[in-house]
């Protein structure tokens, strides 16, 4: 009995120490002693790096082995508490490291009501964000996010500017709400887009989240834009984007379910995502948001260029496939991130 107790205590301590190992390292002050903090960013946005004064912008900004990031303080990268966010953060982190930047990671912090105030307060410098949800979080649900990615990103930029944060280029990939059916159902009822549903709505069992009725993006969109009559369809209430709804859909307990568009289950079970042809869901492209006081210490254009290139290469299919590796196959973030960066030519293998 005594040995059992010691063993249990040992296991508990091991678990605790293990948990402490991951997560944020020590925080360094925003500026390192050698770098003068520029009071006002110059017109080109380039900060001064020690030992080099550049009167003009360099003609081109490309990946440099010594890197513009070599002499600047480490960029502290945070992420939200779920694996997709951590994965994107890791991808950005490795891309920057490949270009000579030092990175400190604070991954898997928590939900947006923790991460957003944290970046606004300067606890870290950069994190990946979903432009639609982010905007609606900041404007307290004012409904400014739309299906137009450009407009949404621009508006997000305006709102974040008030917190001295910039939004860089966004990905083609979107992780938004998706209404999804099995492949057989899509073939049988010829379903390609959401508008095709009205004609067959009573032949389907709908797996909708409990808040659908009162959520304009769910109930509102379905009833007003796509002609779904909530009183005549059969509904099974299961939370969106969860494992239960994916299982229920695969096992034919429901015929249509609300998932997230990059959910690994979609690739795993071969579901068909119905196109939101009326544009009811807000754009949820992913973009890194970065504190201006960090950008002022680096060559802003070079820094942004690195990340913009990476973002531009991330498609919804890519992200879904990566999610399968991380979420289902339980592979490590750093391996999955590094593989993707190598495949897409951002990192030379062996570097």
């Amino acid at each position: 009995m005594r040995q059992l107790r010691m063993l249990a205590l040992g296991a508990l301590l091991a678990a605790l120490f293990g948990a402490c190992g991951t997560g944020g390292g020590g925080r360094t002050p925003g500026t390192s002693p050698g770098t003068p903090a520029t009071g006002a960013p110059s017109a080109s946005g380039a900060g001064a790096t020690p030992g080099e004064t550049q009167a003009t912008q360099p003609a081109e900004t490309g990946p440099a082995a010594t890197g513009p990031g070599a002499d600047v303080p480490p960029v502290r990268i945070g992420s939200a508490g779920f694996y997709e966010s951590a994965l994107m953060a890791e991808i950005y982190a490795q891309a920057l490291e490949a270009n000579g930047y030092q990175v400190e990671r604070q991954l898997q912090i928590g939900p947006r009501d923790q991460t957003m105030p944290a970046i606004q307060a300067g606890e870290f410098d950069l994190m990946p964000e979903y432009i639609g949800s982010s905007l609606e979080f900041l404007n307290e649900g004012a409904g400014e996010a739309s299906a137009d990615s450009e407009a949404t990103a621009e508006r997000l930029g305006e709102v974040l500017a008030e917190s001295e944060i910039s939004v860089l280029g966004f990905t083609p990939a979107q992780d938004t709400n998706a209404f999804v059916v099995r492949e057989e159902t899509a073939n049988e009822m010829q379903l390609e887009q959401m508008s095709d549903l009205a004609a067959v709505q009573t032949r389907l069992t709908w797996g909708l989240p409990p808040e659908c009725e009162t959520n304009p993006l769910c109930g509102g969109a379905l009833s007003e834009e796509y002609g779904i009559d909530f009183d005549s369809i059969e509904i099974v209430e299961l939370g969106a984007c969860g494992a239960e709804i994916a299982t229920a859909l695969d096992e034919e307990a429901v015929d249509i379910g609300e998932l997230c568009s990059t959910q690994p289950d979609i690739a795993q079970f071969g579901f068909v995502v119905l196109d939101d042809d009326k544009g009811t869901q807000p754009a949820e492209n992913i973009a890194p948001i970065v504190r201006n006081d960090y950008l002022e210490q680096v060559d802003r254009e070079a820094f942004a260029a690195i990340l913009d290139e990476v973002s531009a290469a991330m498609t919804t299919e890519d992200l879904t496939a990566l999610n399968v590796r991380v979420g289902v196959d339980q592979e490590d973030f750093d391996v999955v991130a590094s593989d993707w960066l190598t495949e897409n030519g951002f990192v030379v293998e062996g570097e």
Binding site: P209, P210, E211, V236, E237, G239, E244, T247, A253
Partner: protein
């Protein structure tokens, strides 16, 4: 107190009382799930418990089963049973969301009923049982006419505990899309609607209390008068010096 006003208003809204999501429908579902689980659990646990208590065999097994049943979290059971249940109920009239909840609630109800049944029977005074045997009663008769009536309070207490637990926990079924009063709680959380959440939780608590009281009444009615707590072992004899008295039977 604005919040409570809102809750009252919610209850008074006629819309809450009609349709598939209305209060009567959900209460009925909740009672249906709870009752079926308790009945099946009793059907399993009572005979086993009585057997173990009477024959004084298999106590270790009973204790083991009871503890195992208590140790398994209902929520985990629901998650595990979710996918298999869809497969099992395919083509049947059983709702795939009903089955996991039903099984989890039955598993929850068995331990208290089982434990109380065998403890109740086992704790019957051995001298009484001896006396009954001495009078010529056979085993089965002893169980039926002596042990069972004497153990009834404890057995009913077990049913009471099981019922209250099941009624309270049946709300969990809503997490996997099931019906019952838990739906209000799940919807309240999902919609950030505190009023709905509170109303649902309050109704669950209320029904659990009603179950408790119902069983309390049942216990009073079903237990032999001579065994009720507070009853004297030997009734006090009236004497003239006590003055006008009520019948002791009325003095309870």
């Amino acid at each position: 107190m604005g919040f409570l006003n809102d809750v009252v208003a919610w209850f008074l809204d006629p819309e809450q009382w009609s349709g598939n999501d209305g209060i009567p429908a959900r209460v009925a579902e909740h009672l249906q799930i709870s009752a079926s689980a308790i009945l099946v659990a009793a059907a399993i646990a009572l005979p086993v418990g009585l057997f173990i208590g009477h024959f004084r065999r298999g106590t270790a097994l009973a204790v083991g089963l009871a503890n195992a049943g208590r140790a398994i979290p209902s929520y985990a059971l629901l998650a595990i049973l979710f996918a298999p249940s869809i497969v099992l109920t395919r083509g049947t009239a059983i709702d795939f969301r009903f089955l996991p909840t039903f099984l989890a609630m039955t598993a929850l109800a068995i331990p208290p009923i089982l434990t109380n049944a065998y403890v109740g029977v086992r704790e019957v005074d051995t001298e009484t049982v001896e006396a009954a045997r001495g009078m010529g009663m056979r085993g089965r008769e002893v169980l039926r006419h002596v042990e069972l009536p004497l153990a009834l309070p404890v057995i009913l207490a077990g049913l009471r505990t099981a019922s209250v637990q099941v009624v309270a926990t049946a709300a969990l079924g809503a997490v996997i899309g099931g019906g019952g009063l838990g739906r209000y709680i799940v919807q309240g959380i999902a919609r950030h609607d505190d009023i709905r959440l509170f109303a649902g939780a309050a109704m669950v608590a209320l029904i659990a209390l009603v179950a408790e009281l119902a069983f309390a009444l049942l216990q009073r009615a079903a237990v032999s008068p001579g065994l009720r707590a507070g009853a004297r072992a030997v009734p006090r004899r009236r004497t003239l010096s006590d003055g006008p008295q009520l019948d002791p039977a009325d003095a309870r």
